[in-house]
Symmetry: C4
Subunit: 206 residues, 4 copies
Amino acid sequence: MDSTRLEAFSDGVMAVAITLLALDLAVAGPHGSGSLLHQLDGKWPAFAGYFVSFFTIGVIWVNHHNLFKNIIAIDRALLFANLVLMAFVVLIPFVTSTLAKYLTFGNADAHLAALLYTCVLIGMGLSFGFIFVWSLRHNLVRAQLTGRAALNATIRFTIGNLAYVVAIVVSFFSAPVTLLISGITAAYYIAEQILRPVGTERSEPD
Amino acid sequence: MDSTRLEAFSDGVMAVAITLLALDLAVAGPHGSGSLLHQLDGKWPAFAGYFVSFFTIGVIWVNHHNLFKNIIAIDRALLFANLVLMAFVVLIPFVTSTLAKYLTFGNADAHLAALLYTCVLIGMGLSFGFIFVWSLRHNLVRAQLTGRAALNATIRFTIGNLAYVVAIVVSFFSAPVTLLISGITAAYYIAEQILRPVGTERSEPD
Amino acid sequence: MDSTRLEAFSDGVMAVAITLLALDLAVAGPHGSGSLLHQLDGKWPAFAGYFVSFFTIGVIWVNHHNLFKNIIAIDRALLFANLVLMAFVVLIPFVTSTLAKYLTFGNADAHLAALLYTCVLIGMGLSFGFIFVWSLRHNLVRAQLTGRAALNATIRFTIGNLAYVVAIVVSFFSAPVTLLISGITAAYYIAEQILRPVGTERSEPD
Amino acid sequence: MDSTRLEAFSDGVMAVAITLLALDLAVAGPHGSGSLLHQLDGKWPAFAGYFVSFFTIGVIWVNHHNLFKNIIAIDRALLFANLVLMAFVVLIPFVTSTLAKYLTFGNADAHLAALLYTCVLIGMGLSFGFIFVWSLRHNLVRAQLTGRAALNATIRFTIGNLAYVVAIVVSFFSAPVTLLISGITAAYYIAEQILRPVGTERSEPD
């Protein structure tokens, strides 16, 4: 089985999830609480959440693309591992919305919302890691990673998941800093992708 | 007519339906009823429903993929049978949300919600069965099923629909057990797919 | 320009629109108005609307597929005519929801809701007709329609739009009958497609 | 890397965003405020917003299609520039809904809503411009633009963005006129596309 339809389905899920993120920005309108400027000002956590989660899903899409273009055969384990990955992606609008609602409260609720957000991101990262390792171990890839490329891939994978582990610890102290770390992680992957020398791209979960 | 565009449309419908499932998880927020932990705790039926229905639609997608990759020609009956299948898929977020709302009430409403949920799943299963049998009878498949493969396909098809018939009976007594049976059925199909020996996959509605 | 990406975009729009139809079925829940059976009973117009509009969009998708598979070149007029067609498709969930809310009231509001519903369907039908006629006149089709096929296509096209014209007149008297006529029109196209002798299909807006 | 999957993902995002536009049209129903005619009459800003934004996204889709069909290689900068473009597209339903809510108030809120709307459109226009210029400068295109074609493309690009700059200035005075200018800009691009002599189309952000 080739990956065409798996990619089409995953593209659909990611496209819907990334678009639903913006639903959370809706303002109450003229008969709501105060002026539009006041309402927008009070919604800055929703805008920050939209921004971070949009580019997080964006990075997931780019990585999904890079990963599967090097996979030449999809076995059944990969099929369901991809479903698990999608289950985490679909949860991102929910945890983003929850985090935005509690972001500024600085209490146990805010920390729980931040923990939820980070758990979904780490679940997503581990699903990617599973797909990556499984496809290598079962010879489902076009080109095996060698030496330096394998090291680079491992470094990138470790940095991302380490950042999310740090975010989990931080979530017990500060929800805004947790969101900030998630944003920096997405920015790191974007910068790393854009700045990496040409000819070094491979099918890594980066 | 080949199946490319039918699959693209069906992928779109399934991707949207599977993503809409998560809309039901939204919490009321800080000005809602109690702490976030309390709200999430009270929403466990929604999470259970999300979990079961996500993987049910996931299994439907995998089966749809397996079924149509062996179908070489789509006649008009298949075109509309697929629409009927999609009509049931589109109802899954609605019946999941309804079941989650009433799951813990243990009254006639809970039983009705469980019955609705199961009816949609059995309607989905029968649509799959129709597409399967029709494509075999009208020689629309790449490879006919023979002997043991046909038997296996029939067994798998019967197990799934028998489980849903059991779920219908159970729905009159317990909504949570109905959801549990649906979850076990999805898990059975996932396990069966992953563990089945390589080389035995065919275009069966499994 | 070939039609691949136009079809992909249109498939996406139709898949989202057909799935959003089910959002209107949501019940208020246990703290709403009365038992679940009572709530579902009160929502029969929403279910009837879902049923008719789902298969109407389904028929639109089948016809869109049939129409564009015979079109070999998309000029800019077709590109925007297809956008107009999609603008009407996207309005179907809105007019269905509005019609369902007023269906049983039997007053001026119900008639206006039925008129809105029918106008969107007739706008959709005329967009199809424009694409059909334009593609024939500008030699954008794979095979020109000849004699009997052209007559059949014209008959089918006329029946559908005549039915919608009748529905417009009826909308001033009865909203439920308007919905019924729309349902019968969709059923006619489905039956006509399934029962038509093999080998007679062509790129007609049927 | 070719552009197939980038286009599939972008088509998905644009299809969802264009369909979500219609969610804003929903009326309160029979137990809302007054007759259906009265409610629809009060919602004309929502209909105007739907109309303008639907064809704006439609023009974006046509331009995206034209632009990427001439791009033969996607580097990482284009991948993320396209994500930025999609981030603006996803915001269109939000700013349309906000603008519609305040359109008729004629106060600072209305002007802010109009400013928001225009900023998203100009952000979208600049993202297109970046993709266009980057793809030319880095030789990622099938055919370089020469002489008159390059001039035409620059003229079209300048007209669109100039119109949005005018709309920004106007937004401080009149929200309805801002929406009108956005509508005229979309209409200009549609007319220009349909009326342009055959054989002059190229991969320009037009």
